[in-house]
């Protein structure tokens, strides 16, 4: 078993109203030192690598399901072997 974390973020040019609103809220709280909040999501998955190569699995589930390429891109990290 391998633990993988897949990070999904908005592409740079995509308007992120969520991030914008949270940044404003952080500033309203007085944290002017915080510049630019961006929101992303991540998926932690366990993969049984005896069945399929890890990269292959990650690539397939990300591209088929987890990521919306109109707006998002992804990256992943192999966390540890369980």
């Amino acid at each position: 078993m391998v633990n993988v974390r897949i990070f999904v973020t908005y592409k740079q040019s995509v308007f992120d109203p969520q991030g914008e609103t949270i940044t404003e809220a952080v500033h309203a709280l007085g944290h002017k030192e915080v510049k630019n909040v961006k929101v992303g999501k991540f998926f932690d998955v366990e993969i049984d690598q005896t069945v399929k190569k890890v990269e292959e699995s990650v690539k397939e589930i990300s591209e088929q399901l987890l990521v919306n390429f109109n707006l998002e891109t992804y990256r992943y990290e192999v966390m540890e072997e369980a």
């Binding site: 592409k11 740079q12 040019s13 995509v14 308007f15 992120d16 109203p17 609103t21 919306n68 390429f69 109109n70 707006l71 891109t73």
Partner: protein, 741 residues
């Protein structure tokens, strides 16, 4: 910023062809309109403003057929939305808009921004949106991609409307293979206003300020307006994205601020228009053009979200949630203060000028200097060729399909499970249909009904379209679309006031598609004239294709009706045991394009029988009069699935049943002759009702206490438990959506 092509390079390399401008148009612009070569920015402006979406250059000859005036119309097509007088110095404002192409690419945001756009059209007129509707057409629910599209589109419509706090109260959802790769996503919004608050998108008065309010401008949706004619590149790998993302929270603030301005400080405001397709360019030059003014804008002042945006990008961006105002000179600060109160920025980006020049400056340079009218009025209208499709000629020359039904009970149970007929509750439950607490009737009836607070009035509203009929005969199909919308309004007890539309078709350069467009508009026009429902606003969406094949021509009709006294809002469900059931309208052998034909043959084919608009209109008027006198307990119009489905539907969610006996046979039970109604009347109103209706009605049975549907036909009998049918009808779509393929 990449260096832009020079005018000469543009002439040689012809990038405008990709942006949707034809060679002929480019030459006309250079030689006749400007007398010089347009620069990069100007070429961009022409290509979006001369797109079908902004100029209607292809569809205009057809659109001219539509009637757009009557004694109630206060504002016809040409502004953000049309306006109709509803008495008491109030008016209803409505319009529909298609977001088919954006939704095919990015279904959630495409649908969401479709709702956002149509809401801006309404509040830019000075009206508060009070309800939304949608009209959705998808492929058959048998592919993962279609299920994804459905889920995302429905979520996008709900996501935006729910956050804005505008109830989504009615709509339609149909399924046919032709929409597989190209779903139709049409949204309609209805607003209410005091007539004194009426606004126009005009920029008059030299020296008055042009102010930008709302979200910042990014590079989203550049060439969205012309996108219909160009393919969308696969931008998986890139960091760039042209997809517009909706921000309903921003729009909510923008709406409240704009409504405060238009209702409380109208004297500061000269004009207001939303930035829809083609963003700043279309809103600003249309405002100038309508006022026959000139305009000068300094693009450096436009609030920008991304760095190094070019003049071309700033002008063509389709970032959402933005509005353009023309503000009386000297009141700029007052207006800023109102927006500031909502944490919004309002910025002066230019002025109204003398003459008729459209002058844009950016980074110290003049980037555009052209006559305003060259963008708006001088568009080359192209006569399109028309040709009757072969399938229609063939159908005229062969006989129509006739069903043979041995087991009507089984057919009824099956037809209730067809996606187009089955309950849409799993979708409509994800829409907030009650916010603003004025929803008298929400999704699941013939029309949505919204009361007008402080009066006895209510507004009934519906969206309807049936591509199958229009495909088989565009002119008759066009008539039927209007009939069906009127029938839904009448069923609720409303007087049809006027309509809006979304005309969804394939590539108009295909003479067969253009013929369909023209003929269907002709048919709709004939019906509008008879029903006195002028077309006060609308929208055209062309180039809708699935695998290179045009969709069914699908004009969507959005209609609003006035219920004089909300107490006489008529439910579509049966009300009490013993009530008498009537059928209004003749039933003919209308099987071409029916749900029955599709279910039994897998296809639709044949020719349509013409409809008698005058007779249908007479029936409707009498029925409405009976309703207004309190004689009608319930009413439901007949559409897909015919009388059988309509009768079944009137019992759902009640604990009652029906017992009917009629001279029709099993096949006729499913015929889809338009303009028919089932009505229930309490026995003590029987005489009065029949007197108002003056014949042309058939008594067919009674509402029963036992929750069963019993029908005696000329050739067979049906007896089913309501609960059983209701379950099939309710579970069909959730079941299809879950099934693995």
């Amino acid at each position: 910023m990449s260096t832009e092509m020079t005018p000469q390079e543009i002439k040689e390399q012809k990038p405008y062809l990709d942006w949707g401008l034809t060679q002929k148009e480019y030459e006309y612009i250079s030689e006749k309109l400007l007398g010089r070569l347009p620069n990069y920015t100007e070429t961009g402006l022409f290509s979006v403003m001369w797109s079908e979406h902004c100029s209607y250059k292809k569809s205009k000859p057809a659109l001219r057929l539509f009637p757009n005036k009557n004694e109630r119309v206060l504002q016809g097509p040409g502004e953000g939305a049309g306006i109709v007088d509803i008495g008491d110095n109030q008016a209803v404002v409505f319009k529909a808009e298609s977001h088919n192409h954006p939704s095919a690419v990015e279904p959630y945001e495409g649908a969401a921004t479709g709702v956002g756009g149509i809401l801006r059209d309404i509040f830019s007129m000075g009206a508060r949106p009070i309800a939304s509707l949608d009209s959705l057409h998808f492929g058959e629910i048998n592919q993962a991609r279609t299920k994804y599209l459905i889920n995302e589109v429905v979520a996008g419509i709900g996501g935006y409307g729910n956050c804005m706090g505008i109830p989504t109260v009615a709509g339609e959802t149909t399924f046919d293979e032709c929409y597989t790769g190209n779903p139709l996503v049409n949204a309609m919004s209805v607003g209410l206003m005091d007539q004194k608050d009426m606004q126009k998108g005009r920029a008059v008065g030299v020296g008055n300020a042009v102010m930008y309010v709302g979200a910042k401008t990014g590079r989203d949706g550049i060439h969205g307006a012309t996108f219909a004619s160009a393919d969308f590149a696969d931008d998986r790998e890139t960091q760039r994205s042209a997809v517009q993302v909706g921000d309903p929270f921003m729009e909510k603030l923008l709406m409240e601020a704009c409504l405060e301005l238009t209702s409380a400080h109208a004297e500061w405001l000269v004009g207001i228009q939303d930035m829809g397709a083609a963003g700043i360019v279309s809103s600003s030059c249309e405002m100038a053009s309508k006022a026959k003014s000139g305009m000068e804008l300094t693009l450096d002042y436009v609030p920008q979200r991304e760095s190094n945006m070019s003049a071309y990008e700033i002008m063509l961006s389709e970032s959402q949630e933005r509005m353009l105002l023309c503000v009386r000179k000297g009141h700029e600060e007052d207006v800023k203060a109102i927006f500031k109160d909502y944490d919004l920025e309002a910025v002066v980006i230019g002025r109204v000028t003398e003459g008729h020049r459209y002058l844009l400056k950016h980074q110290g340079k003049i980037v555009t200097d052209i006559p305003v009218s060259s963008l708006t009025d001088d568009v080359l209208e192209e006569p399109s060729e028309q040709k009757i499709p072969q399938h229609i000629i063939d159908a005229e020359n062969s006989s129509n399909w006739k069903p043979q039904i041995d087991n009507p009970t089984e057919v009824l149970n099956r037809i209730l499970q067809q996606a187009t007929i089955a309950s849409k509750e799993s979708f409509t439950q994800t829409y907030d249909s009650q916010v603003r607490t004025s929803t008298v009737v929400g999704p699941g009836s013939d029309a949505g009904v919204i009361r007008v607070r402080g009066t006895k009035k209510a507004l009934a509203m519906t969206t309807d379209g049936n591509g199958r009929f229009v495909y088989l005969n565009p002119e008759i199909g066009g008539k039927i679309a209007v009939i069906e919308a009127c029938a839904n309004i009448i069923s609720s007890g409303g007087l049809p006031l006027a309509m809006t539309d979304c005309l969804n078709y394939g590539d108009p350069n295909d003479p067969e598609v253009y013929w369909e467009l023209y003929q269907s508009v002709k048919g709709m026009t004939a019906a509008c004239n008879v029903f006195n429902t002028p077309v006060i606003s609308g929208n055209v969406s062309l180039y809708n294709e699935n695998n290179g094949k045009a969709i069914f021509p699908t004009p969507m009709v959005g209609m609003v009706g006035l219920i004089k006294n909300v107490a006489y809002t008529i439910p579509s469900f049966v009300q009490a045991e013993g009530d008498i059931i009537y059928l209004i309208g003749e039933t003919k052998a209308d099987y071409s394009g029916s749900e029955l034909q599709k279910m039994l043959t897998g296809n639709i084919s044949g020719s349509l029988n013409d409809v008698d608009l005058i007779e249908i209109s007479n029936n409707m008027q009498k029925l409405l009069s009976a309703m207004q006198q309190g004689y009608v307990a319930s009413c439901h119009d007949l559409s897909e699935g015919g009388l059988a489905v309509a009768l079944a539907e009137t019992t759902f969610k009640t604990d009652l049943g029906l017992s009917v006996k009629m001279a029709l046979n099993s096949a006729e039970l499913f015929s889809e002759t338009p303009g028919r109604f089932v009505v229930t009347v309490s026995p003590d109103k029987k005489e009065s009702f029949e007197k108002v209706m003056e014949g042309n009605i058939k008594e067919i049975g009674q509402v029963t206490k036992t929750p069963q549907l019993k029908m005696k036909l000329s050739d067979n009998e049906i007896e089913v438990a309501v609960e059983e049918m209701q379950q099939l009808w309710e579970e069909a779509i959730p079941c299809l959506m879950k099934s693995k393929d």
